[in-house]
């Protein structure tokens, strides 16, 4: 049972971390506000579900809205400071994170919001029952990753994204509209976080600091998986999800996080570039 929970949690982290990794891999932006896109996605999802009475419509509305917000953030916040000291980007994203949290607090209040599971059925595994919805979450995440992989490997834009990731100057000299690639990648990365936020809402509820609780794990996953690597982020997320969940059988969930940091230290010592790093030229 805990192993299944670990897989579910791993897939939730993987969705957030893959977006984070994509944004860093392409734009060199350490997106400190990424957890807030996850949180804002969950809130918008909750609102859209309430208005439409459909979880799935709410999910689509939330990810589309957050993708648009992501585009606006990239164009209005990141684009003007591109090429400057990375500290500018860090400060901008940190400021955005605080702004998002306080705005959500002002708009929706401090109380957590509940979202009902869209599928209430439970399925039996040997001696225990497991909520079907959680397995659906794993399935949806898996389908998203397959589509993300197909997009990156098989489409024109996917090749542009990978080329930009490897050498943005030469990509531009080859006629690739690098600015547009940045904007679309940022939107895609934030939409992945929002999807994760909505999917997790029926499991953990929606609250204003939920972004903070996942972002540390997501950063650990991105470092372990290798900056910019989608498959690295997925595998590392499953590893961290299982580590955190299985270890919390014996110790408190707070202390269980220690194992994630141990894994991080281990990787930094023996393979500092991460398990699947992508070499890039700047």
């Amino acid at each position: 049972m805990q192993a299944l929970n670990g897989l579910v949690w791993g897939m939730i982290i993987a969705l957030v971390a893959s977006g984070l990794s994509l944004i860093f891999g392409i734009m060199d932006v350490v997106n400190f506000a990424h957890g807030e896109f996850y949180m804002v996605g969950a809130y918008l999802g909750w609102l859209a579900i309430k208005l439409s009475n459909s979880f799935w419509l709410g999910l689509l509305a939330a990810l589309a809205s957050v993708a648009l917000i992501g585009m606006a953030v990239e164009i209005l916040t990141l684009r003007p400071i591109r090429g400057r000291d990375p500290l500018y980007t860090l400060m901008a994203m940190f400021g955005l994170s605080i702004f998002a949290q306080q705005s959500i607090l002002a708009l929706f209040g401090p109380l957590a919001k509940e979202v009902k599971e869209p599928v209430a059925m439970k399925i039996s595994f040997f001696a225990f029952e497991y909520p079907l919805y959680r397995l659906i979450v794993v399935g949806i995440a898996f389908i998203i990753f397959v589509f993300a992989w197909l997009f990156l490997q098989k489409t024109k834009y996917g090749v542009w994204v990978r080329a930009t990731m490897q050498d943005n100057v030469m990509a531009s000299a080859m006629g690739i509209p690098v600015k547009r690639v940045y904007t679309l990648s940022f939107a895609l990365g934030t939409a992945l976080a929002a999807t994760s936020g909505v999917l997790v809402a029926p499991i953990f509820s929606v609250y204003q600091t939920m972004g903070l609780s996942i972002i540390v794990s997501a950063f650990i996953v991105v470092v372990i998986g290798g900056l910019g690597s989608l498959q690295g982020a997925i595998l590392a997320a499953i590893l961290i999800g299982e580590l955190q969940t299985l270890s919390s059988v014996w110790i408190s969930p707070t202390y269980a996080r220690v194992f994630s940091f141990l894994a991080l230290i281990f990787v930094l010592l023996f393979r500092p570039q991460g398990l699947f790093s992508i070499s890039k030229r700047r």
Binding site: M170, M174, G175, I176
Partner: protein, 200 residues
């Protein structure tokens, strides 16, 4: 000094601080254009250190140039066949990653990648650097083919002997300024310069 910077400035990839004066391509002033617009205007670029995309396959490296211009499928096929005709070795390595190619093959790919965009002008920054003589000959032939097909080539080359063989006009650049400008014949007739640059 300044030759590569001049090329990068034309392509719009040098830092704006080093760019001064005006850059025109035909009647269009492109001094402050972004690289992707310069490229779409019909200027291909073969950089000094090749800079092929190491984790894209040979086919993907070539495909970028075709996709950027929205070339129709049939024309894409024809263009690729033409390119494979010039670079048969690349056709044998279509599914290999760029990083797995030899230095010479990478240089071929860098040139093919620029050619596939069907440019009016190709900037080549020391395309023969570090290559064995056989490959230098192949690149000379390609430059001649480009000229025959009406594609202008702006070539930066340390080897004056090689440059004189394939060019119509010669510019000798030193510390960012042009020291000599003329035809290869005028260059050869300038004994002082010939002695200094070629030792003859």
């Amino acid at each position: 000094m300044g030759k590569s910077t001049a090329m990068k400035s034309i392509m719009g990839i040098s830092p704006p601080a080093v760019r001064s004066g005006k850059i025109r391509f035909g009647d269009t002033e492109i001094t402050h254009w972004l690289a992707y617009r310069v490229s779409r205007l019909g200027i291909g670029y073969v950089p000094e250190d090749r800079r092929i995309f190491p984790l894209l396959t040979v086919k993907e490296n070539l495909r970028i140039g075709l996709d950027v211009f929205g070339v129709v499928k049939e024309m894409k096929k024809n263009m690729l066949e033409k390119i494979y005709g010039y670079f048969p070795r690349l056709e044998q390595r279509l599914s290999q990653l760029g990083e797995s190619l030899s230095g010479g093959e990478q240089q071929m790919l860098a040139i093919a990648r620029a050619m596939v965009m069907n440019p009016r002008l190709i900037l080549m920054d020391e395309p023969t650097e570090g290559l064995m003589p056989l490959l230098v000959e192949e690149i000379k032939e390609i430059i001649k083919v480009l000229r025959q097909n009406g594609v202008s080539v702006l070539l930066v080359e340390q080897s004056a002997a090689m440059a004189l063989e394939v060019t119509d006009r010669v510019y000798v650049m030193e510390k960012g300024t042009i020291r000599f400008e003329g035809t290869p014949k005028e260059f050869r007739d300038n004994e002082a310069l010939m002695k200094e640059l070629l030792g003859v």
